[in-house]
Symmetry: C2
Subunit: 179 residues, 2 copies
DNA sequence: GGACGATCATTGCGCAGGCAACTACTGTCG
DNA sequence: CGACAGTAGTTGCCTGCGCAATGATCGTCC
């Protein structure tokens, strides 16, 4: 943040650079994402002992039957690959927030299941998180704007990830979370 | 993507889980971001030899006077820290796309400057990138929706990162890019 | 029943990036 | 001038993650 404005009046030395409106919109989108992620991460770290990753995993688990999920399902619900998820769950297990459970019907699969400590953590973190979200979004937007934001985001998501859209539509409630 | 719907009708075992609309909106936002990033990255890798990071750096450079920028300014314009940027520029330099230039007035600073090869690369990549953006956004949204999307994104960005907002407003053209 | 392709999870390897420590240099103040 | 605080950039160390390979298991088809 030293002197960003140095580039403020950068004379476009290449003609092709002149104002692509979409580039600006997407740039704002990216900046908004970065800012939001940073803010959420910061608040989460401060008030609960959670990282964004761990928060998301715990949240997915607490929403699931028996507070557990197969590794592969968990991976499908996050941005992580199977290998990334294995290690993320390793860390959560090391911290005592989840345990791995074997599956009797299919001995290849293993479940990640919340421990009581994990349930406590997510129970603490979730309200903080939601309050933080409310603070940000209800401060910046009217109710109308919020619903059109949701609509636009859904459309964009559906365009970019038809699979998630289809998975979401039927039950209309696997309600995506966040990263 | 195996059977995500497993969680589709997850009976919320904790009452507090019932529908936080904001959580859904933010979740969609995060999913849209992930999808967009993946799509852009994919297209960029396919048609130019560029990663999202390198593309952004090259784009910042080509927009700047003399096609060069001080390391710290470049860092301020990206999501990278100074150290991350040092290494990113190392990679670009290794690939011959940028060179480091010393600064006569202040011998602490070094510039990252585009080489002709770097200019070629960004000149190739930018139109591809913009076309891809157009394909996605103009396919999914009307012109009105696009402008309200930009407005909403700008408001969110400004809320989350007042510094960027201030840097942006006066000259109203350091036009944020993307990550 | 046994072989085979598919699926689930894990692990080795390599890269990317943040933090903190470090060097080099600048500008200021006594 | 000399000390010193602040700034620019780099580097060591560590973490986190994706890809590809692996081991275990399942389902199917002959």
């Amino acid at each position: 943040m030293t002197h960003v404005d140095a580039s403020a009046e950068a004379p476009p030395s290449t003609p092709a650079l002149a104002s692509y409106p979409l580039l600006t919109t997407v740039g704002l989108f990216m900046e908004a994402h970065a800012g939001l992620t940073a803010s959420l991460e910061h608040r989460l770290a401060e008030h609960c002992g959670a990282t964004g990753q761990s928060f998301e995993i715990l949240l997915r688990l607490v929403r699931s039957p028996d507070h557990r999920l197969r590794m592969s399902d968990l991976a499908a619900q996050t941005t992580l690959t199977a290998s990334g998820l294995t290690r993320a769950v390793d860390r959560l297990a090391r911290d005592g927030l989840v345990v791995r459970q074997a599956c009797a019907e299919d001995r290849r699969v293993s479940y990640a299941a919340l421990t009581p400590a994990g349930e406590d953590q997510i129970a603490t973190a979730l309200p903080v998180h939601v309050a933080h979200l409310a603070e940000i979004f209800e401060g910046a937007f009217t109710a109308d704007e919020l619903s059109s934001l949701e609509c636009l985001m859904r459309r964009l998501r559906d365009t970019l990830n038809p699979a998630a859209a289809r998975a979401s539509a039927p039950a209309d409630r696997p309600a995506p979370l966040e990263g």
